[in-house]
Structures are given as C-alpha cells and as structure tokens.
Symmetry: C2
Subunit: 303 residues, 2 copies
Amino acid sequence: MDMDPAPLNPPIGFIGLGIMGRPMAGHLRRAGYPLTVFNRTAGRADDLAAAGARVAASPAEVAAASEVVVVMVSDTPDVEHVVAGPRGVLEGIRAGSIVVDMSTVSPDLERRMAARLRARGADLVDAPVSGGDVGARAAALAIMAGGETASVERVRPILLRMGKSVTHCGPVGAGQLAKLCNQILVGVTLLGVSEAIALARAGGLDPGVMIKAVEGGAAASWQLSNLGPRILRGDFEPGFMVDLMQKDLRIVLETAGAAGAPIPATALVRQLFQTVQARGLGRKGTQIMGEVVARMGRGEGSV
Amino acid sequence: MDMDPAPLNPPIGFIGLGIMGRPMAGHLRRAGYPLTVFNRTAGRADDLAAAGARVAASPAEVAAASEVVVVMVSDTPDVEHVVAGPRGVLEGIRAGSIVVDMSTVSPDLERRMAARLRARGADLVDAPVSGGDVGARAAALAIMAGGETASVERVRPILLRMGKSVTHCGPVGAGQLAKLCNQILVGVTLLGVSEAIALARAGGLDPGVMIKAVEGGAAASWQLSNLGPRILRGDFEPGFMVDLMQKDLRIVLETAGAAGAPIPATALVRQLFQTVQARGLGRKGTQIMGEVVARMGRGEGSV
C-alpha cells in the first residue's frame, strides 16, 4: 500500500490581489502551493485562476480551504473587514491555521485580530514588507514579522517565496512597529535629502556634484543615492506612491500619539506631502518631496 | 655646476592648531613640508616646533614665509580676523600664493576673501572637511574644495596628506556649500533615526532588532547604522560635538535664508539641539539627539 508523501505544500489562501498582492500570490502559485484567492474586484483574479488557483466568493471561503491565509490589503479598516466583517476570515478559519497579515496597518489592530483568531484555535503573524511593487514582482521584499516563534517559523518558508529576508521582530504587532519605524526613517531622510538639494540649487552648487561629494561619508543614505538622482532628473514616477506613504504616516502618527512619543519631523513630512495630494499628485513617487521643498523657496520647480 | 632639485615640497603655513588643525599640521610636517605655524594660544604649537616647524608671531608672518597658507579655525569671524584683521594673512601674502581655508564658514565670506586675495595676486581655495577629529588624526578626511581648477589642482597633493579624498565642487564657495549640504543631511537623518528609535521604545519593540530589520533597505543610512547603536548604549561621547554642529547649522540657516531656500527640518534640528546646549551638554556627541527626542515623550531618557 503506497503512502501519500508528506504534505510539504499546505493549501494557502490569499486575500487582496492589488499591485502588491497579485505578484506575491503568483510567486506562491508558481512554487506549487495549492492556492485559493479572493479579491473585492473579481476580475483581478483571472490570471491566477488561469494558473490553477481557485477563486473563492468570500474571505470565509478562502479561510475554510486553507491552512495559511495571507492578507494583503490597503489599510486598517480593510484588514478589519476581511478578517472580522461579514463572511470574513473569522467565519471560516480552521483550528490550527495561521493568518499572515502582510498589509501595513496599526500594531493595535493586529493584537486585537490575534486575540479573536486565538479564540478560534488559530493564530496570527503580522508580516508587513518593504520594497514596494518592484520588490513584490521580484520576490525581493524585506519582511518584518511579529508573532509567536512557532507560528513565524511555520510560515517562514512561505514568506521566503515572496521576499529575500524575514526578520522576526517580536510578538504580534512587532512587525508592524518595525515597518512604521522604517517609514519614519524613509520619510525624514528624504526630507533631509530634499533640503540639501534645495540649498545646493539655491546657492549655485551643482546638486549632482554635491551628492557625489558627500554620499561616501556620514551623510550617506539609500534615499540620497537612489532618490537624489531621480529628483535631479525630475523623474517622479513611483517607486513608492505618496498616497500610500501618507496612509502609512497616518498610522505612524496615530501609533506614536497613543504611545506618547512626539515625532515632530515625521509630522512635518506628512504635512509637506499633503501639499502634493492637494495638487492631485498623490500617485507620484515620494521623491516628489524634492519639488515640494524647492517650490517653497525662490527656486522654480519642474512639475 | 650642480642644479638644485625642483622644490617638490613648497613651504606651507598653518593657522589654527585646535583639535582638528594640530593633527592635520602634523601630517604635513611628517610628509616633509617646510612648515610655519601660528595659533592664538602659542603653547599648542610646542610639539610641532619640536618636530621642526617654525612658530610665527602672526598670520602675516606665516603668509610671508609660505606659498600655501592653510587656515583651520572655528568660525566665520575667526577666518575674517586671521585673514583680514591686523597682522593678518593679507598683510603678508605673496603674489602667487594660495590660501586654503579648511574651516567651515559661510560661502559668502570665502568669496569676499578670495576677491581681496586676488587683488594681492594670490588666490583662495575653500576646502572644508568631514570626518571630525578622528578623521583628522587618521588623515582620512573627506575634503570638499571650491576654487579655480588650477589652484585646486596645485594644492591637491597637500590636501591628500590630510584626507582620503578631494572633490572639486565648483568655484570659490562651492566647497562650503557642499559641506553645509552635508550637515543638513547628517542632522535631519539623525533626527529621523531618533524618532524611529523613540517609536520603537514607546511601542515595546526592541530598537536594536528594529535597526537590524530595516538597515538593509530604503531606510538605510550611515547615521542609523553608526549612531543608532550608540544611542541604544547611551554612549554620547563625541564623535562630533553638538556645539560645533550648532555653529555649522547656524551658517546653514543663514546661507539658506539669504538664498531664499526654506529648510524647515534643518531648522527643527537646530532648535532641538538648543535644548542640549541649554542643559550644558553641548560637548556631547550629536547622537544625544536620541535622548532629546526620547525625553519629549513619556519614555525616560538615560542622561
């Protein structure tokens, strides 16, 4: 009598097939995982269906078919809705399953959702990412995970199909906190880069020469070396969109406010990005901050 | 009849033997340059005198004895005084000589001093540095030069005895502008690092884990990887002193103001460092910004 091989590839559910979720789900399907997907707008599942994924009618149906349920949606209310709303994950989840929330949402929501899942015998790992849609397509995301060690280790092989690294940051919510810290660093450093470029331009110093002169020392940053040259070329394609950054920074400021941690430079970054959104340019890349700062002064911007 | 060998090592003057200037002058003396030095406090020249340097009684006397006059003093008025004051460089300078100002001062002062030196047939190269006293002792400074190409190239071999790189940034004043941009980047990035650490601590995320999770991506910076761990250890030894940073940021804000370039994050950095100076801690390293931000919130600082 033959024995079935051990089920190396547990059935996975994937909820949220947007600009990030669709390529991420594709990596899982190509790795051979049985895949059940759901998206609010059903048409976005067509190519995954053609590749063999099953398309479910609700998050509850996804959860009922899966041992690991990945959620990749836009914002805190979206996660709350697909997990705890009508026909949500909580209605279908099986004991022993794990929800992996890869959205960027508030750490507090993750703790509340984890409590409700544990009441059903399931668990939650928060696993937000950095790397944007480019990283999602290339399976090169940096993944920051929060949760029980056993749960994080159980889903690590799955996460590594979508990213190049998984850092276990602490208990549930710690992944989100690390992601929020990442966004502080990205935003404030970019504002510094924009102010340095503005001073160089206003003072008559070639800003490209300035970047070359300083990027090897204590002024060095990824933002300076990667987004600085795009600012100088007037290339404002995303990259990472201002609208998404603003959503993340709203969560950063809410979380810091609740924790009693003033973060004035981050608040300034969010205010300055609001001028971009007010002009209808929220779908440009964050490097448009270079224009925001330039336009505050006498210098002319290029947008 | 024997001919003298070509004078490979022109006589150099060095004005300003402080924490930076003394080791820099020492590198020049050890490289074999005939050296004439001046310092307001004469005792600081003793070890250079013992190594064969001549100690002059005034900047004018230094200039009269030298083809290249290096100036390394604290602030804009100090440069103005040693160059244009009584018994200053302008009174002794020889036609064909070059003044190399390695102090961090306003680009505008350099342009005015250059005009006055050119009226005497001499020239000026501004060549501020980054790398601090550690870089000065190790001859590892990054040097940002502004001036005529011929003059910059003539002094480049001398500068390379004190630094690891010389970037020619443009005409007179361009070196100072690059240095001021460097200080914007250093200061604003450090504020972002401090806010990220504050949120991690307030939210219960190990800030060391946070740094490891994000320093490989778009949040990467020299400040995060080098000063972040010092903030976590409560190690506030300089590095680069707050008092000197504040002097530099004052020049940054004056220069940006004159050029009509608003730089609000840099202004915020300077305001926050004022709280350090108000507590008598201006001789600590700039990474004490981590404490400033922590103390604004509920979290307890360690200083």
